[in-house]
């Protein structure tokens, strides 16, 4: 699954790092480092982190948690 954090919004509440520590980790007091492509088996915890973020800075693929069916790398006419 794919994740992106809007780090302009992020204020370092660290709720995500608590709920999915292998995906989100604090780096120092306030900076957040994360894996933007966690394994699908981590989905439940990542979605919990999304829900727990007080500033709603975390976005995952597909607004409703659905995978986008989009094909990539297909040239015109293919």
């Amino acid at each position: 699954m794919r994740v992106v954090v809007d780090l302009n919004r992020c204020q370092g509440y660290a709720q995500c790092a608590f709920l999915a520590p292998d995906v989100f980790a604090m780096h120092g007091e306030e900076a957040l480092l994360y894996d933007a492509r966690p394994d699908d088996t981590r989905r439940v915890d990542v979605l919990r982190a999304v829900a727990a973020c007080p500033v709603r800075a975390i976005a995952v693929e597909g607004a409703g948690g659905k995978r986008a069916a989009d094909r990539v790398g297909v040239p015109d006419g293919a």
């Binding site: 992106v4 302009n8 120092g28 480092l33 894996d35 986008a68 989009d70 015109d76 006419g77």
Partner: protein, 462 residues
């Protein structure tokens, strides 16, 4: 409200082409679909990868915590696009409404969005830039090459330029326990973006983390060994340094060359557009069917004296792409201005640095919370008696408050008594930005000799 027939047709069956398949291009494509565009959508990108996120490249990717291919951006929805990846756009014919591509084909459009972004400014000497061990960092491929080399444990890394990217790279090197030298032409790291007062704090951070920081010097040459591997760097103060890796972090160049001769007002400073993201042509008239978004755009901002701002910020790419996409398929009266208040962040040496507003327009700065000495503070920036920006070191929670202050043109220095203002922050001081008419980096050119036959041009670095 009824749409006129041609716009209705565009929304239903028109062809929108987006040149640039990175953050701005992707977010624009998603917004077009979200807002009901059902026609054909083509995304053109010069890199072979689907849209990916760049900020992690100089942080978690370089640290080796996250593989480089884990940076693809999530999709908000399926955009049902035709993708032309790995093929650069090479020309624009506005009269024929056609984009030429590097593979000799072309794509016609009804509406065009230009989001070609920037690329890292290369080391000016091509031979030296080609030495094994000389890197830049902008793309996934750049990051993959550099992380591979850092993993091998070079004896010393030289970072040329102490802007945000250079400072983040130096921070990663220290975290990997690699010896690192940073060469900065200005008086302190980050001085162009945050000014001299905060630049001093950035310098302290580097010193405390064991960086060999050299300010006020230029790298004048990179020297290779017989096998074409980087061996040594030479400085303008006469010093030389043994280094196996050099990372050139001298800022970015806008990707506008492909627009030469198109009639658009595009050049080294980007593509000028109005607040509604419509591109200006060389006559200064906005085009109705060509829009611009992201790092390559330069647009006027009412909050900052209507100056045309180029903002190489992640958040700007998202916000401007959304406005551009909306305006591309909306009638005049429903179009929106891009009024985003600039925001950016950087993580380095364990500190989270965030900014709102435009610090480098400021004449004064005041530490309104916390303490410079503790590297944990909020600094408010003032311009002609109003708050124009704020920067936090590990105090991001204050930024939203200052965003409101900026948007309301609140007086500077702030009249409120801050919760924990320290003696050093009681009075505003000059912000210490370098004179913008003096370049902070780039080559120096001097002309000597008097008569036309004796005149010599000297280019430094050679």
């Amino acid at each position: 409200m009824a749409l006129d027939g041609s716009l209705e047709r565009l929304r239903r069956e028109g062809h929108i082409v987006v040149v640039g398949a990175s953050l701005a291009g992707l977010r624009a494509a998603e917004t077009l679909r979200e807002e009901g565009f059902t026609g054909t959508l083509t995304l053109i990108g010069d890199e072979p990868y689907e849209p990916y996120d760049r900020p992690p490249l100089s942080k978690q990717v370089l640290l080796g915590r996250v593989p480089v291919d884990h940076t693809a951006l999530p999709r908000r929805l399926a955009i049902d696009a035709r993708w032309r990846l790995g093929v650069a756009a090479t020309g624009l014919d506005m009269a024929a409404k056609r984009v030429a591509l590097a593979d000799g084909t072309s794509v016609e459009y009804d509406r065009l969005l230009i989001a070609t972004g920037v690329r890292s400014r290369p080391w000016p000497n091509e031979l030296e830039a080609g030495l094994d061990g000389v890197f830049t960092l902008r793309t996934r491929d750049d990051a993959a090459r550099l992380v591979h080399r850092l993993r091998a444990g070079p004896r010393r890394v030289l970072v040329i330029g102490a802007g945000f990217t250079g400072s983040e790279i130096a921070s990663v090197c220290r975290e990997r326990e690699l010896p690192v030298t940073v060469a900065e032409r200005g008086p302190a790291p980050l001085v162009g973006a945050l000014g001299g007062v905060i630049g001093e704090v950035a310098a302290e951070l580097q010193h405390e983390h064991g960086v060999d920081l050299r300010c006020g010097v230029m790298v004048t040459g990179l020297e290779g060994d017989g096998a074409g591997r980087l061996r040594r760097a030479h400085f303008s103060d006469g010093d030389a340094l043994e280094a196996e890796v050099a990372v050139v972090a001298l800022g970015a160049t806008r990707n506008t060359e492909w627009l030469a001769g198109s009639g658009l007002a595009a050049g080294p400073r980007g593509i000028a557009c109005d607040a509604g993201c419509r591109a200006f042509d060389i006559r200064g008239i906005v085009a109705d069917d060509v829009f611009v978004a992201g790092d390559v755009a330069r647009s006027p901002h009412p909050l900052f004296g209507y100056q045309f701002l180029s903002l190489e910020h992640w958040g700007n790419a998202v916000a401007q792409a959304e406005v551009a996409a909306h305006n591309m398929i909306s009638p005049g009266e429903r179009r929106r201005p891009h009024l985003w208040t600039p925001y950016f962040w950087s993580a380095q040496f364990g500190v989270n640095i965030k900014s709102v507003g435009v610090p480098n327009m400021a004449d004064q700065v005041i530490v309104s919370q916390g303490s410079l000495g503790e590297h944990r503070f909020t600094a408010a920036y003032g311009y002609q008696g109003r708050v124009i920006a704020a920067v936090t070191f590990d105090q991001a929670k204050w930024l939203e408050f200052y965003q409101r202050q900026i948007e309301q043109a609140a007086p500077f220095p702030p009249p409120f008594t801050a919760v924990d203002r320290r003696p050093e922050g009681m009075r505003p001081v000059p912000a210490g930005f370098p004179d913008p008419s003096v370049p902070t980096h780039g080559p120096e050119v001097t002309v000597s000799g008097h008569s036309p036959t004796d005149q010599r041009v000297t280019f430094t670095p050679a």
